[in-house]
Every structure is written in structure tokens, then in C-alpha cells.
Symmetry: C2
Subunit: 389 residues, 2 copies
């Protein structure tokens, strides 16, 4: 079916300067991986988020895989994760041996809180994953405090929240690890795939390049550049534990693009926030849709979602799709309902707010390239649909 | 130090058409991942290699990780691997629990043979990895026969050998799995990173997309596109064994570029082979350098290597570097010498040809963009250096 306004896999457009940058790198003769743009991208990220260590990765999932490795889970170690998120938030921790405890969300904020997380903490808890879902940064002051009080590793999943702030500090600057995504659907993308891992500990940061790049390190006391070989291959080692390497490298054109495009993340975020607020306010007369309205830098409206009241969700989406041509969808399926997690033994949860929200939620098509007239059309279509149901 | 002819991390240049293709994809509004170019790239590869299933991956290492998963190693299972290769050939199999047995190389061909491999086969052998190193395709008819006689899984590492042929069939069409690399240094590159996994078994091929993309699959009996969610997440399952998913996706600009640039792999290979033969023949008067001269499609001369006789290797590289400005290097360090493999218990091997070759070998700078005058300079510099040592 051809929708008038599809739910797109593409978050934004590129400027001519950004296109030219990639063209120029393709046209020059420098290496296309592990070069100067990798370092430039990482430096830009460090400075923008306000952290000491940032590492470019092939995806945000790759960043989470390495964060999970560095948690050194064993035995009965547990990790608290909100189940209302994309599967890549959680499965790297399952793969690395952590036992998952599902945290519920706040019914309006649609993210976990210090309160919902604290209910999940046991003597076995080793780490907390907080997800700034839809682009809203969670209560990081309280959650950081909770992690500190319980001596827990805190990991921020900022896949959707680049550029958001809590109490004057960027999302991603609170965690022991933080991850970002530049997947196609995000507010800025590095040619469709790509991620960032932020680490706060110097010893961990020192081995992340090895974990990312096949275990490569330098030989010591080298006198001749070619001997014994161009580079060593060893175990990345943290706290005496030897970790297996990966290949999660990101190419130079993607790194260069990331380093440049991050300069306009706030423009994209501001545009999306203004339009989200305009859309929300235009529909304020109806009590059928409940939005989370945040008109400041704590929300970047990566996604525009609402709860549909009175069990009208399915009829709302159906009419929007087949009568109005607007492709609304539902996201994010509570992870404990997926066969993958059920088979792993994580099919049970006490997350009534997650169930209630997911079973009644709608996610509207929403991307930077949506035109004013498309937004007007979607607003009218929504108003008419609400009147009919 | 600035070399007159450096050993470059970049294998080739892009044409204006290739640059324009990437620009056009950046400028359009379609998804940047998991789209139509992924399918186009995979179809082109299937048709070019002459196989039924090809899957684009974020890297060749990622392709090897999935091949290793699908081998379903357990217990005492062994895998035979030549140690004269890049580390990414081997460590994915170590991570997946196989015990490594190192195969020696043929002293002139510099790759493993049916004879060197057969010496490593025991009752525990489950798989053979053959590497077409430097761009020379190994004796695949004999090696395929050996694998069949012993009921072994055969994996071709074609990272350096795209476009080469053995007995009229492409390298990569003999294995149960085959992998290709489009890393920056290769004869063709998809923006610095990228790989391909070829599979021959229909059941394995059916789950590779799930293994690559976070365990995603379709819900059965869907009536509404949005319910219960946009896609399912489950275990990829092969032979009753549930396998953990990964995120090894490759973006659309890279896939589109790969689909286009594969059309001129034979031009690049032919150019490199002609120049390699010209270089080798220009130096035929000296008995100090022993090349592997193959003037047909069985060799693409991804790398141009030679053995330096009479213990003159170090002095040769030193003079070439510091007197001539030509940055020769040594590769590939026998894997059993790296700390990573030693600590895993794979530090011992019976590979005299590997030791002999590696300890006396030189790899010359060699890339598609080398000019005629650079090649002439390197030839003269080599000749002069050989006269002096």
C-alpha cells in the first residue's frame, strides 16, 4: 500500500556540504578506515557530550556489546533494563551472561524512573540500563544517585536522545557507559549505520580500541616499523579478565560525516520539537490522545507518540492508515513478549504501565524532512479521525 | 617519516559515477539501511560468484563470526586453519569454541594445500578454513575433495581474492561458506568497511538475515501491519540449536556502491596482475627475490610479495625504506606467535614453511592507483637495492 505519509526509515536529509564531504573523501587517496576522521569524530563527540572518552562503532548495538563485555558479568549477576525499548538495548547483556530484570516505565514519561528501577534492585544487581526512549531524557540525577548508593554500573542508552539535557548536563554524560546511534531513522545518521560508545573509566577506555578492532595493539620496544609485524594481536584485559575482541570498525566517510553533522543536531532537534509541540497543541481539544509534552531541551522528539484512550487505539490507527493514508505504527513491543526473551527465561515481568501504554500507544510518522503541508495534513487527518471514533 | 611510495591503507580510487551514486542516495529520501540496494548487492554477488545465497555484512569478520556460529562447534571439535593469514580468519572460530589446528603453507604458493591440510585432520576435525592469501586461489578441486571425503565443513576466506578462478569456477563457489572483504585496502571497497557471507545450504541461508539483524523475523498470520508489533524477535535456529543474534548490517550507500563497483573488479584485477607480472619480470635477473608468478585469473595480486633469499630480508626492507623511500612491510605474522593465540593454548605449530616464508618475506606497496612512474621508480629502487646487498 502507498501511504500519503509513510512511517519512514529515514530521519533526515543531508545538506550539499555534507554530500560534498563524502564525495571528497571518496575522491582523495587516503585510507577509508582507521584514519584521521575516526579521531575527529570521537573528539567532536567528547566535546559535545562533555566526556573524556568516545569511540566510534559500526552500530549502537556494537557499542552495547562492548559495554556488556566490560561489565564482566558472571554467576547470578543481574541487570535492570526497561522492557519498553528496542531489542538491541537488552540482548547484548543476555549474550554476555547477565540475568535480566525488567523495569517498568512511568505512565506519562514512558521511560523508567529511579522508583521503577529501585523496585528491581536485589543483592545480585550489577548494572542498570536506562533508555531515553523516544528522545526524552530520563531523571538522570536521581538514577545516578540510585546507582551510586547501590554501587551499580549505570549505562545510558541514548540511541534516540542525542543532544538532550537534564539539569544542564547532556544525556550520555551521567552513565559509566553511554551509547548513541546514527542508524538511518535517527535525528542524525552516518550513512544508515553507526554508533558511539562513551566510557568514563580510563582503564576501560584504554582497551576499547582493541575490543573494537580485532585485538590489535602495538608491539613494545619496536625498533623497526616492520618487525616483528605491523601490529600485535592480544587479549584486551580489564580487571585481570581477558576479553574476546570484535570487529566493530566504522569507515572514514561515515566518521567524517558524523563529525560534521553533529554541528547541526540542535537545529534538527529544535525543528522536531517545535513541530511536535505544534502538533500536540493543535490537538489539545481532544481528550482521546495523551502526549508527553516537553517544550525544552530534555526532549528531542526523535519519535512522536501518544496513548490513545478508551480502547480506541486500533480503530484510530486503522482509520488513519486506510482512510487518511497516514502510516502510524506501534512501538516498542515489551521485550518480555518476544519469543527470544521468553525462551531465555525472561518472559515474565511486573510492568503494568508498560503493558497499558504499549497496548494503547500510537507512533506517528515524524522526520526532519516532513514538510509543513505534510504536518498540516497529518494534523487535520488526526483531528478528523478523533472526531469520528 | 614521509615515504615516496608508502604502503597505503587504500586499495583503489572511485570513478565519478561511483561518487555520484553515493551522492544521489544521500540526496534522496529513502531509507539508508535494509533497503533495495542491500538486495541488489546480494543478487549481483550471487550472480558474479555463481552461488545461490549471498549476504552483505558490516565486515568480513562479521561474515566469519556467523559462519563460525553455523558450524555449531562443541566439545573437542577442531578446525584446521592456515596460520599464515590475518587474525580475523581465525579468532571468530576460537570465540565460537572450536579448537584450532594450524596448517602449514606451500613454500611457493604461500597458501595451504590439500597435502598440508590433510596432515592436520583428526577424528575431531569438523571444519577446514582455506585462505586465498595475497589474491592467489588455492587448489580448490583437491581441497573440496578432501573435505567431502572426510565429511568436513569447508570455508573459503576470499577476503583478498574476489574475482579469481580455479578450473573455471570462481573462488568462493567451492566452500560450504565463503567470505569476502570490502575493507579499504582491498581491490574494491565499500567505503572502507564491509563484507559478504556466502552460504550454500538453504536452511542456513534462511536464518542468516536474523543472525545479521538483531534476531528480527516476521510474525506469522499478520492481519494488521502494526500488530502485535512491526516485526518479531526470535532465536535463529539451525539443526535444533538456537543461536544468538548480532547486528552486522551494512548501510544502503555501501550496498549500492558494492553492487556497482563489482562490475569493474576484473578491470582492477587485470591491471594489478599486469603490473605485478611487469614488476616480477623486470627483476627476473636477480636470484635474491622469489615471487609467485601467476599470469592468469587464478591470482589477482591483491598484494605483491616475495621471499628474500640469503637472510637479506631486513637489510632489503631497511634500504628500500630509508634510502629509497619505498615502504615495504612484512605480513602475515604466523598467528601462533601472537599473545592472543598463545594464551588460548594455540602457540605451538608444526609449520616450517610458514616460519621460513614469514621470516624472509617482503610485501611491496601495491595498489590500483599507483602510477606508471611510481611503479617504474619502485622497480628501479628494488633493482638498485638488490645490487647493493
Amino acid at each position: 500500500m502507498n501511504f500519503k505519509i509513510p512511517f519512514k526509515g529515514r530521519g533526515h536529509s543531508y545538506t550539499q556540504d555534507e554530500i560534498d564531504l563524502v564525495s571528497n573523501i571518496m575522491a582523495d587517496s587516503n585510507t577509508l578506515t582507521q584514519g584521521k576522521y575516526l579521531l575527529e569524530f570521537e573528539k567532536k563527540y567528547q566535546s559535545y557530550i562533555g566526556v573524556d572518552y568516545a569511540f566510534a562503532m559500526s552500530s549502537a548495538t556494537a557499542a552495547l556489546e562492548i559495554a556488556a563485555q566490560l561489565c564482566l558479568f558472571n554467576g547470578e549477576d543481574e541487570v535492570v533494563i526497561p522492557s519498553h525499548t528496542y531489542t538491541a538495548t537488552a540482548y547484548p547483556f543476555v549474550k554476555k551472561g547477565a540475568r535480566v530484570i525488567w523495569a517498568d516505565i512511568d505512565p506519562l514519561k514512558r521511560v523508567a524512573t529511579a522508583e521503577t528501577i529501585s523496585k528491581c534492585i536485589t543483592k545480585n544487581t550489577k548494572a542498570i540500563i536506562i533508555v531515553h526512549l523516544y528522545g526524552f531524557a530520563a531523571d538522570m540525577t536521581e538514577i545516578r544517585q540510585l546507582a551510586d548508593q547501590n554501587n551499580l554500573i549505570l549505562i545510558e542508552d541514548c540511541a534516540q536522545s542525542l543532544g538532550t539535557e537534564v539539569n544542564g548536563k547532556k544525556a550520555g554524560s551521567y552513565g559509566d557507559f553511554s551509547i548513541f546511534s546514527h542508524h538511518s531513522q535517527k535525528n542524525i545518521s552516518t550513512l544508515g549505520e553507526g554508533g558511539i560508545l562513551i566510557a568514563s573509566d580510563k582503564d576501560q577506555a584504554s582497551i576499547i580500541p582493541m575490543l573494537r578492532h580485532n585485538g590489535h595493539s602495538s608491539f613494545e620496544n619496536i625498533k623497526q616499523y616492520w618487525k616483528p609485524a605491523m601490529s600485535n594481536v592480544d587479549f584486551p584485559k580489564y580487571n585481570g579478565i581477558e576479553l574476546e575482541p570484535n570487529n566493530f570498525c566504522l569507515g572514514e566517510p561515515q566518521c567524517a560525516l558524523g563529525a560534521k553533522i553533529i554541528d547541526r543536531i540542535e537545529d534538527v532537534n529544535n525543528l522536531k520539537r517545535e513541530r511536535a509541540i505544534q502538533f500536540i497543541d493543535s490537538l489539545a481539544n481532544s481528550s482521546l490522545l495523551e502526549f508527553h509534552r516537553v517544550n525544552n531541551t530534555r526532549h528531542n522528539y526523535q519519535h512522536l507518540v501518544a496513548e490513545v484512550k478508551n480502547n480506541k487505539r486500533d480503530i484510530f490507527i486503522e482509520k488513519m492508515a486506510y482512510e487518511m493514508g497516514v502510516q502510524c505504527i506501534t512501538q516498542y513491543y515489551p521485550l518480555y513478549r518476544y519469543p527470544y526473551y521468553i525462551k531465555h527465561g525472561y518472559g515474565k515481568a511486573n510492568c503494568p504501565n508498560t503493558d497499558q501504554f504499549f497496548d494503547n500507544m500510537v507512533s506517528f510518522p515524524f522526520y526532519e524532512t516532513m514538510t509543513d503541508s505534510e504536518l498540516d495534513y497529518m494534523t487535520d487527518a488526526t483531528r478528523k479521525t478523533l472526531e469520528q471514533i
